[in-house]
């Protein structure tokens, strides 16, 4: 474990300091996009003109309706005559759902280990540090592929894998934050008040580090989205007939020359989603930093 990274209370070593004073228009745009994306995913059943697997083999690979394609197919159709627009909506749902679940798994696991290491220190820190070294020693993509090779493909494993991506960032962050909370004194003060450690951590420390944790989650989230789509792109993530943004690009790349919209539509959505989350995360962190320090 890099000491710097481990001790930095806001995880600057593993993340980036960013733009101060982001143009508020950009932020507003990013937030609106995310809201729209989440709503579209959530309401895909209502919003999507078609089901994500509704096929019409007669209108395969037709361009978007605004480019002269069939009426009502805003983003055109794919190789099975499915509505790309509807599929993007549903893909958003699956991609976001999986990314969120993966993030929660990772954040939960990392946070737990971070707390254990910071509370018990000693052996627990050594265990954490060995685990972090281990994780850092295998390039994540190769680790994920190996796991898929050994255990076969399943959504469950896939989500766990996404969760394993970045857990150590949370663990380091939380360990650092808890240690600095201890250093700040209020943990010791509370201990001195005779409070049980569980009460101290759950009622006092967690709410205090929650903001930083949330920032880290937003910073990690684009990575998870890209990882999900990357694995799906390789055909190793989400499997048809389910759909995800990466999978759409993966199958759409065959048609880049003839029907670019099949890949460009989901590609743009991934890009915008990752971009918006990054921007919002940065903005959020700036806000948190801007608050009078503890």
């Amino acid at each position: 474990m890099k000491e710097q990274a481990a001790t930095d209370p806001i995880g600057r070593r593993t993340t980036f300091a960013s733009t101060r004073r982001l143009p508020s228009l950009v932020i507003a745009g990013a937030i609106s996009f995310l809201l729209v994306a989440v709503m579209s995913g959530a309401l895909a059943d209502i919003l999507a003109p078609q089901g994500y697997n509704d096929q019409n083999l007669l209108i395969r690979l037709k361009p978007p309706s605004f480019l002269g394609g069939p009426h009502g197919y805003y983003f055109g159709t794919d190789e099975l005559g499915r509505d790309v627009f509807s599929r993007v909506l549903f893909s958003l749902r699956f991609s976001l759902l999986i990314a969120v679940t993966g993030t929660l798994v990772g954040a939960g696991f990392g946070t737990l280990l971070g707390f254990l290491a910071a509370h018990f220190q000693g052996l627990w820190e050594d265990i954490l540090s060995a685990l972090v070294d281990f994780q850092a020693s295998i390039p994540f993509m190769i680790f994920a592929l190996a796991a898929l090779a050994f255990f076969g493909n399943s959504i469950f494993l896939f989500v766990i894998l996404l969760g394993l991506y970045g857990w150590e960032v949370y663990a380091r962050l939380v360990r650092g934050l808890v240690l600095s909370a201890k250093e700040l004194g209020y943990v010791e003060a509370l201990r001195n008040l005779g409070f049980h450690p569980i009460r101290i951590y759950s009622r006092h420390v967690l709410p205090n580090i929650g903001g930083a944790l949330l920032v880290q989650i937003t910073l990690n989230f684009p990575g998870i989205i890209l990882l999900e789509s990357g694995l799906s792109f390789l055909g190793l993530g989400i499997q048809p007939p389910l759909t995800s943004l990466g999978l759409m690009i993966g199958s759409g790349r065959e048609f880049m020359t003839t029907a670019w919209w099949t890949a460009v539509a989901p590609g743009t959505v991934i890009f915008l989603t990752a971009l918006s989350v990054t921007l919002v995360g940065d903005w959020f962190r700036d806000r948190l930093d801007a608050m009078p320090s503890n």
Binding site: E3, F16, T19, A130, I142, A149, I249, W260, G267, A274
Partner: protein, 312 residues
């Protein structure tokens, strides 16, 4: 940097490698009957048993483990049943291609990311800074595979400047190296900028200013060495990202490296090959991290000295 620091780091690296070997060993055992995974699917049951005995899979697990570690130490990772060659050979053959791509990508990342980050920090809030930030944020959000496909469309299909895939000539290297390099350059630029800004706000930079040293000294001799410390630790991370990224970029551009071998080996359940790749990439990463630690210790006199501890 003390000898102790070196020894501690080396021992930690070894421990990590032992963990990796153990992990690789356990994974095969946890995933089901290892013999069935190692042999082609239609191998007759009698042959399976024959192999079970031949490979010692009927022995107690700890004996198997010791044997496995011993064979790994001898460079024996088993056979690739796809082409009947030792798995190690199949993997090592791919290393030069990945190294070429990795170094090219690293060069792009460093040549673009570092100057951009430094310039942005020094000229904070200027148009340069804003451009670098935009590049970094956008670059970090574009999926590499999508970016690669867009490059192919532009440079191979429309402009016909560059070959779309393969590794025959140097021209083949351009797009994969850009794809993997620019993505990391974005990360690096952001990180460098943050690190520089952090250093520039330190008290000792005010001292330099108050002493009237020229700004070239200020940036190059006083700020950069300090900013470099976290950047160097970042490089270990970038090596990992290059290897991870290679999986996708090599697939998109048909670059005959480890990454693509991983994908084909996983698809073909070439367990021995996958194990070899995991181990070798871990070895590479551990070496890279060890190197990073050494540079780190060399750059930062506080590390490994009598007052700087393992964990503060």
């Amino acid at each position: 940097m003390s000898a102790r620091f070196l020894i501690v780091r080396t021992l930690r690296a070894l421990l990590t490698l032992i963990l990796v070997v153990t992990f690789v060993f356990l994974m095969l055992r946890l995933a089901g009957d290892p013999i069935k995974m190692l042999l082609p699917e239609d191998t007759p049951a009698s042959v399976v048993e024959q192999y079970r005995a031949r490979w010692g899979m009927d022995a107690p697990i700890y004996v198997q483990y010791i044997r496995y570690v011993a064979s790994v130490l001898h460079g024996d990772f088993g056979m690739s049943f796809r082409d009947g060659r030792p798995a190690l050979q199949a993997v090592t053959e791919r290393i030069p291609a990945t190294l070429t791509l990795g170094f090219a990508g690293l060069a792009v990342a460093l040549l673009v990311g570092l100057p951009a980050g430094i310039a942005a920090a020094v000229m904070r809030n200027s148009i340069v800074d804003r451009s670098v930030i935009s590049f970094a944020v956008v670059g970090h959000s574009v999926p590499t595979f999508f970016f690669g496909i867009l490059l192919i469309m532009l440079f191979s299909m429309s402009l016909r400047w560059l070959p779309s895939s393969g590794s025959a000539t140097w021209a083949h290297l351009v797009m994969p190296a850009l794809t993997i390099g620019l993505w990391n350059a974005a990360t690096l630029a952001r990180f460098t900028r943050a690190s520089m800004l952090d250093v520039l706000s330190q008290a000792y930079m005010k001292t330099v200013l108050a002493n009237g040293l020229p700004s070239s000294w200020r940036i190059l001799r006083y700020a950069l060495p300090n900013a470099a410390i976290p950047i160097v630790t970042m490089l270990g991370l970038i090596v990992g990202q290059l290897l991870s990224g290679a999986v996708i970029v090599e697939t998109v551009f048909a670059w005959p490296g480890i990454g693509r071998l991983t994908v084909t080996a996983v698809a073909g359940r070439e367990v021995a090959v996958v194990q070899t790749i995991v181990f070798l990439s871990a070895l590479a990463m551990v070496m890279a991290n060890l190197l990073v630690d050494l540079i780190y210790g060399w750059l930062d006199p506080r590390i490994g000295s009598k007052t700087g501890g393992m964990s503060r």
